[in-house]
Amino acid sequence: MSKIEVSLQTALGGFALDAVFTAPSRGITALFGPSGSGKTSVLRCVAGLVRAPRGKVCIDGECWQDESRRHFVPAHRRAIGYVFQEASLFAHLSVRDNLEYGLNRTPAKERRIEFGQAVEWLGLKALLPRGSQHLSGGERQRVAIARALLSSPRLLLLDEPLSGLDDAAKADIVPYLERLHRELSIPALYVSHAAEEVARLCDYMVLMENGAVRAHGALGAMLTRLDLPLARSDTASAVIDATVVERDDAFQLTYLEFNGGRLAAIGDTAPMGAKARFRVHARDVSVALVRPERTSAQNVLAAQIEEIAEDAPGRVVVRLRVGDTILLARITRKSASDLGLKNGMPVYAQIKSVALLR
């Protein structure tokens, strides 16, 4: 029963929404898709801000909406935390009063997050006495996130919380989100159209297109499915979740292990035993039939070809299985033909650079 079930059908001014998916009620689930694909509409329906005429929204078996029995719980009775695209702090309240707004309305026995905890997590101590008018964009969004957490939600809803921020403010917030992801057991739906953000923060993905769910599944699988647009975009990439096992200070390298092998990454300061996520771009991976000797690439992994698809004229993308992990390699069609690549063939994946995400 530990899952989020969503089924929504509505027509809003010429825009038809028909979104059906289930997602695990653990970790962060991305609602991913281009602008206008209906992501925010889904989020608003899940929050109860909008009532879809036909719909069902349940989390771990508790239904907030089930139109088959005309059941609808209004937003203020749902244990949700909603972070809007613009921070939308209450202008008439101080930062502290903003944070306490939801907290004070949460029954004592439902409170799972303490004031001090949220303040510490999001680094807000110095901001507490300030008026909400006098904060930077990044600070405002951090307050909004803490405010949502303090109403002790069972489900956190984030509507492109980074999209209104400049790069510096984004870089400021992402570590806080990652920390919440690691340390907090609250599941979240995270609306985004930025693949980079999703690769970094999310575990599961619901891909939306034109008001419908095109596909949903674990992040690693979704990023590398050749029948979906993600694996065919210029920034196509796979993610590897690994653990830090060794440091080489002389060469400033960190070694990480995952179930498909061992990787070296440059200049990482993560502590020993820490979980780390990599994003490996398809364009940085090449394929060899024999284990390459004397190559500049540090990372060579034994792999098996699962699928090959043409993604642009003269170019193919190859799906590689490395242990339980899937990687993508983008090579020319000529290389694929010269090497006689076929499904099921054992090969070596050579990774030129490894981008550490966390």
Binding site: L49, R77, G81, Y82, F90, A91, H92, G102, R105, Q133
Partner: protein, 224 residues
């Protein structure tokens, strides 16, 4: 100034204070409804509330007199409730003033609610605030500049009225004879010194009111 003039000043202030209180209680829900409704009645109701802006006060006063008089439906109601008839009483003045000044109170509050918009209320809903709670803890505080403007305008406009009061209240000293009517009476009796004293006072009062109003608007600009 004579004792009768002071009586008129006091009556005017009392009338304006009571009227303003009633106006805020009545005008705020009306402004809220107009700002939030999607009903087709929105425009008709807004136009009806704005009527006193364009109608001559004598027209309002005339119809109120008929409505509240012994043969009007309002008069029938007050008589049935053993309240007597309201024309030429203080209560009658309050009713006339409330209707006359309604647009001056509803408009700024409506503008303020519009400026607040939907979002802060949605945020409050996601933070477990019930609809009533959202109104009192988010909508009203955020609309404060509009409420202040409405209070000042409602008070000042009631102090300045003449036509409605004359039609429905007459000029009973201490009961319905307000400042503007007292000035009129002085001028008619060629008592220019008395008329000057009251009129100059009104000019100063009006200037101060508008000054306060503009200062309120400046003070709250950052909230918008």
């Amino acid at each position: 100034m004579s004792e009768a003039d002071w009586l008129a000043v006091w009556l005017t202030i009392k009338l304006a204070a009571v009227t303003t209180a009633v106006l805020l209680l009545v005008g705020t829900p009306i402004a809220w409804w107009i700002a939030r409704t999607r009903s087709w009645l929105k425009q008709p109701v807004a136009a009806f509330v704005a009527l006193p802006l364009v109608l001559p006060p004598t027209v309002l006063g005339f119809y109120l007199l008929l409505f509240l008089g012994p043969n009007g439906p309002g008069g029938w109601l007050t008589q049935t409730l053993a309240l007597g008839t309201l024309p030429f009483t203080f209560a009658g003045l309050v009713i006339g003033s409330v209707i006359y000044s309604l647009p001056f109170v509803v408009q700024p509050i409506y503008n303020a609610f519009e400026a607040v918009g939907e979002r802060p209320l949605e945020v409050a809903a996601t933070l477990r605030a019930s609809p009533w709670n959202r109104f009192f803890t988010v909508a009203l505080p955020l609309a404060r500049p509009g409420l202040l403007t409405a209070t000042v305008l409602g008070f000042a406009h009631t102090v300045g009225e003449f036509g409605v009061v004359l039609m429905i209240g007459g000029a009973i000293p201490g009961k319905t004879k307000v400042l503007s009517v007292a000035i009129y009476d002085h001028v008619e009796a060629l008592e220019y010194v008395h008329a000057h004293a009251l009129s100059a006072g009104m000019v100063v009062f009006a200037f101060l009111v508008l000054l306060v109003l503009f200062m309120i608007n400046r003070r709250w600009e950052p909230l918008r």
